[in-house]
Symmetry: D2
Subunit: 358 residues, 4 copies
C-alpha cells in the first residue's frame, strides 16, 4: 500500500470483485459500478445464473462460480463479501491470504472467535478489513454521531431503538442476529470515546413455533450508568424504525421512515440540579422542565452505500482504519454472543469484556 504514490492511486481505479449475488450483493454491484474509484471486475456466486441475472443482459462485468479464479486475477485488489455469515471466515480469509483488501457484510463473522481470526490476519498483512455497517453511513447516523461527539446533546442518558417489521424468518439465525447488528453497530459508531456497553441482557419469544426467537429485547448497560434498549421483531405488521437518544442537554428522535423529518432535536426535558439539599426539599425545588423548540436539521440525501464505498476506498488508499473497521465488527459480535447467552439463560445480565482486543 504505502509504496504506491497517492497520485497514481487516484488515476487508477481499484479493481474489485463482489462475492455473493443474493440479497445484498446486487446493492454492492450497483454502488461499485457507480463509483469512479472502483472498477468492478467480477461478480462471483456459486450459482452463476443468479449472478448473471443480477448483472442483467447488458453488462460487461465477468461472472464466476470459482472464488480462486477471481482471487487469482491480479487486477482485483479488493473484494466485497455478501455471502451467508457462516462462510465469512473461509471466504474472507482466502481473500486476505491472496493479498486482497476485504469488505464484509454484517455480521463480520459467525462467531467472535472467527471474527478475531480475520482481524488478526488483516493486521498481520497490513490489509484493510472493513465491515459493511451500512446504516452508519446514512446522513442521519453521521449527524447523530456528530451531535454526540461534539457534546451538543450532552451526556447520553438512554437510547431506545425499535426495529420491527414483518420480516423474513431466517433459516439459520434468530431475530437478534438478523436485525440487532444494525442497532449495535450504530451504537458503537455514535457513542463518544470512553463511553461503551459493559453488560447486556436479552429476552425473547418464539411464538409462532419457528424454533428461534422472533421477538427480542436487548438491554445494555453502559459504563456511564446509561441504558440502551433495542427491540427487534419479525412479527410486527407495522414497520417501525425509530431511535430516541436521550441526552442531558437535548433529546434526539430518529425516525428513519419519515424522509421529510428523519431527525428531530428537542430542547425539551427534565433537569435535576444540586443534589446537596435534604431529601424533602429536593424534588420540590430542584426538578425543572425545559420546554423549548424542536429543530429538524436539513440532511443531504445521499445513499449510505455510496458513502460506505467511498470510505472503503479511503481506507484502502490511506491505509488508515475504516470508520467501521474489523474491530467495530468484533465489538458487535461480542455483544451478539453475550445476548445469545443471556437469551438461553432466561435474561441474565451478561458482562462484556470490552476492550480486550481494541
Amino acid at each position: 500500500m504505502s509504496v504506491t504514490p497517492p497520485s497514481s492511486v487516484s488515476d487508477d481505479p481499484i479493481g474489485i470483485a463482489v462475492i455473493g449475488a443474493g440479497y445484498w450483493g446486487p446493492n454492492l454491484v450497483r454502488n461499485f459500478q457507480a463509483s469512479r474509484t472502483f472498477r468492478l471486475r467480477w461478480l462471483c456466486d456459486l450459482d452463476v445464473d443468479r449472478a448473471r441475472r443480477v448483472l442483467g443482459d447488458y453488462s460487461t462485468v465477468q461472472v464466476s462460480a470459482d472464488l480462486d479464479e477471481v482471487l487469482a486475477d491480479p487486477e482485483v485488489r479488493a473484494v466485497a463479501i455478501a455471502t451467508p455469515a457462516g462462510t465469512h471466515l473461509p471466504v474472507a480469509m482466502a481473500a486476505l491470504r491472496a493479498g486482497k483488501h476485504v469488505l464484509v457484510e454484517k455480521p463480520l463473522a459467525a462467531t467472535y472467535e472467527e471474527g478475531r481470526l480475520l482481524v488478526e490476519e488483516a493486521d498481520r498483512r497490513g490489509l484493510t478489513l472493513m465491515c459493511d455497517h451500512t446504516y452508519c453511513y446514512t446522513p442521519a447516523v453521521l449527524r447523530i454521531r456528530e451531535l454526540l461527539h461534539s457534546g451538543e446533546l450532552g451526556d447520553l442518558h438512554f437510547l431506545d431503538s425499535v426495529r420491527i417489521n414483518l420480516g423474513l424468518v431466517q433459516r439459520d439465525i434468530d431475530v437478534v442476529w438478523d436485525l440487532a447488528p444494525h442497532d449495535l453497530s450504530i451504537l458503537d459508531f455514535v457513542l463518544p470515546p470512553g463511553v461503551n456497553p459493559v453488560a447486556v441482557a436479552a429476552h425473547g419469544a418464539d411464538g409462532i413455533g419457528a424454533g428461534r426467537a422472533c421477538v427480542a429485547y436487548l438491554t445494555l448497560q453502559l459504563n456511564t450508568g446509561a441504558i440502551a434498549h433495542i427491540h427487534v421483531n419479525w412479527l410486527s405488521p407495522v414497520k417501525i424504525r425509530t431511535a430516541i437518544f436521550g441526552g442531558s442537554k437535548r433529546t434526539l428522535v430518529w425516525d428513519d421512515l419519515n424522509p421529510s423529518q428523519r431527525l428531530a432535536i428537542y430542547d425539551r426535558g427534565v433537569d435535576v440540579s444540586s443534589p446537596e439539599l435534604g431529601d424533602e426539599q429536593r424534588h420540590d425545588i430542584l426538578v425543572s422542565y425545559r420546554s423549548g423548540d424542536m429543530v429538524a436539521p436539513a440532511l443531504v440525501e445521499r445513499e449510505a452505500l455510496r458513502t460506505m464505498v467511498d470510505e472503503y476506498a479511503r481506507a484502502i488508499t490511506t491505509g488508515a482504519p475504516a470508520l467501521t473497521d474489523g474491530r467495530s465488527g468484533l465489538r458487535v459480535l461480542e455483544i451478539l454472543q453475550a445476548a445469545s447467552l443471556s437469551l438461553a439463560e432466561g435474561g441474565t445480565m451478561i458482562k462484556l469484556d470490552e476492550g480486550h482486543m481494541a
Copy 2:
C-alpha cells in the same frame, strides 16, 4: 345491598363523596356530576381551598377537610378516593368500616399487603371495592378485550406496549409505579381466561439523577409462552402510547394518540405449520406469509371515566364484582412489587404467585 329492591335503586341516585381534589379528583367530580345514577354530595380534601377551586364558584356541592364528617353523612353510600397511594389503606379502610362502597384510583394501595387488607375487608362486609383502572373503560380497550376473548386475534404471541412522554418526575414513586399500572391493568383486563403472567423482569435507569428510575422496561412471561413487554419513560420529548398485540390469526395495533384510527387489525403475519418434518426441510416449506387487508374498526367515542362510573353503579346495585374489582388491583400490585424487586436485583426474572387470592 340485597334488601334494596332494584326498582327503588334506580329512582334514588347513589350519594357519593369524592376524596382528594388533586390531579385526578376533578375528573371524578365532573363525571359523577354528569351521571344521573349518582348524586355528588361532598368533595373532601385536607386543603379546602383547593377543593373549592375544583368545584368553582357556582357549585352546590359541599366541601370538607374532615373525612369523618363526610363518612358520617348517611346520604353518602359510596366514595371515590383520589388521594396519594400511600393513604389509600387508611382512607379506604375507614370508608369500608363506615359501610361505604369504595372506588380507588390506581394503584389499589401502596403495597400488595395493604391491598389485600382492603380486599378482605370489602369481602367481609359485602361491599363493592373497585379499582379505577380508567384505560380499561376506553372504547379501544373494551374492543381489544372482546377481540382477544372471542378468539378473533387467535392466541396472543406477544404484546409490546409503549407509554412514554415528558412526564412529571414523581416525588415518591418511580416511573414503573407511576405509569406501568396502566399497562398492567390493561393486560389483566384483556387477557382471556386461563392466560396470565407468571414472571416479570425489569430494567431501568435514572439518568437525570432523580434518585429513582425514570426509564424502565418490564418483560413479562405468560403461562402460554407468550411475552409481554412494557416500556415506560418520563424523559421522552415525544409522546407515544402504542401497543401491539401479536396474535396467531391477526395482529392488532393500538395507537391511543391517533383518534381517527385508534385500532388497526392486520391480517398480515407469519404462519408456521406442521413441525413434524425434519429440520432441514422445515423452513423452506412451512413458513408462509399472510399479506391481507387492514381493518380499522369504527369505535364509538365515549369518555372512559363515564363508562367506569356506570360500571361502579352497576357493581353497587347488583352486588356483582366490577370488571376492575379489588382483585384485579391486587394482581397489578403483585406484578409491580415483583418488578421493583427485579429492578433492585439488576433484572432478575421474578416468579409471580398469581392466583393465591383470586
Copy 3:
C-alpha cells in the same frame, strides 16, 4: 366605561349572561365560570330544560327563557350570544339597546347589512361589540400573527387552508357559511396591516343532494398579488385542518390536529433574484433553492376560549376595540357574501369593497 377607575373594575367581576344553550353555549358557560373577571348570572334559552341540562344539577346560575328578564337585570353588564346566526341581529340589538356589551358567536350576523347595523349601534353607544372568532385566540394563530406582523416569514406569497371533516350537514347554511368563517377570520387576524383580500371566487358541489354546497373552494386575491385558497368540506371521512403560509423568507405549516407539532417553520424554499437580466439567462442563473432546517416552536397550551374571554374583559374595561371586534366580523361577512354570489354565478371572481367601513 372610562369613568370607572381600573382598580375598582378588577375588584368587581363583570356580570354576564350567556344567550343560547345549544352547541356552542356550554363552552361559553364553562369559560365564563372559570374566569375571575366575569360573574356568570344567567343562561338564557327558549328551551329552559336544555339550559338546565347544560348547567347540570349542581349549579347556582339562573336559567331563563325570557331575554327581556335577563337584560333587565342591572347586574348584567355584558352578554355572550350563541344563538343561530339568523337571530343575531334582534338579540344583539336588544342587548346593545339595554346598554350591555356584546360578544357574538361567528358569524357576526346573517348578512353584511345586519352586521353593519350592529357595528353602528355599538359605536353610537360606546359599547364593546366583539366577535367570537375563537381560532384567532389559539396559541398557534397568535404565533402566526406575530410571525407575519414581525416580518419573520417575509411577504406572504400564498396561503392554502384545508378544513375538512365528516361534518353535520347544516339545516340553513352551506359549508362555506358553516366552516369558512374560521379560515376567513384567521386570515383577517394574521395579515399584516396594509395587506388584504380584494376579490374572491368560489366553486362548490352538493353531491349528496343536500340542497346546498357540501364541498367548496374559495380563492382570494390579495392586494399584494398573493393568493389565499380555502377548502371546506363536510363529506370527507378524514379530518384535516392544515394551513400553509408561504412567505418570501420562511414557510409555515400549521397542522391543528398534531398537538406535538402544531407549527413548523421551514427555512426551505425557492428564491428568484434580480429580474433585470435577459429572459434566457434568467432561470439558469437566478433561481436558487434554500434547504435549511425546520423549527417547531414550543407553544404554551392554553384553551383559546379562555384567552378570548380575557380579551372580552380587556375590551370592556379599557374601552379599546377587541382584537376581533365587530369590524373584523363585518370584513368576514363581506367575503362570505361575495363567495355566495360567486358560487351562484359558477365561479366568477367578485371584487370586494374592503375598507368602506373600517
Copy 4:
C-alpha cells in the same frame, strides 16, 4: 404487426431505443433493460456524454446523438421518447414515419393540435402510440380504477387531489403543465365510462417572480355534477400527494407517501334520501350518517414503470390500444390548454369539447 404470429413474438424481444437521457430517460432505460420482452438497443441524446453516464461504464447498449441513425436500425421496432415536450412532435413523428411504435413521456405534446397530428399519424399507419402516464400503472391507481369501475365506491361526488412539494421551477412551463398532467391522466384513467369533465377553471399565483404560476388550483366540473379539484404547487416545503375520492357508497383516500397504507376505504359518510317531503322536515328526517369501518386493502408492491412497459409490449403485440393511448394523452392536453386559458382570464370556467376525437 398483424402478420407476425404471436408465438414468434414472445420468442423475439422487441428492439427498442430510448430517446432522451435527461431526468426521465434513465428510468426508462432501467425498466426496458429489466424486461425480457424488450431488447434495449440504443440510448439517444444530443449530449452523448450524458447518455454514456446514464448507461454507466459497464453497458453494452449503444449510444448515439443522431436520431436518424437510431431510426434507421431495422432491429429497432419501437421507441420511448423522454425529451422536452416541445420536441415531442418532430421526434415522435419521425419515429412513426420510420414505422416505429411510439411511447411518449407526458404530456403527449406541447399543444393539443400537435398531439392530434401524432394520434392521426399513428392511426393511419396502424402503429401503437402510447402515453407514459406512469401513475396510472401504480398498484394504487389500478385499484382505484377497479373500485370506481365496479361501482364499489358508488357514484363519484367529488375528487380532491393535492400534489405539492418544493419542486424545480421549470424553465419553459408553469406548475399546471408540469404537475397537473399526473392528476388529469389519473382522473381520465379511473373515471368509469360515461363520466367525464365538461369544464375547467384555474386560479394561480406566481409569488416568487418566476414569470409563471408556481401555485395553481384547477376546478373541473364533471358531466354528472360532480367536482374535481387539483392543487399543484412548487413552493410547498412539505411534500403532499393525496387524493380523496368521495363516492356515494364509500370514500377512498389515497396517500401516495404512506407506503404502509396507500389506500384507505371508508364506510363513513352522509346519506340523504327521498327529497319528496316538505323543506321543513327534510333535514331533520332524511340526513343520516354512516360511521363504519375503514379498510386498507393490501396492495402488491410493483414498480409502476415495469407495468407500463408490459402494457406497451401488450399494445404492440396485440395491436389493441394501450390503456393510456394517444387519445388519453389528447384528452389531458385539452384540459391543460383550457386551464391555461382560464388562468390567463383570471379564472373563467372554460367548456371542454370532450369527445370530438375520441
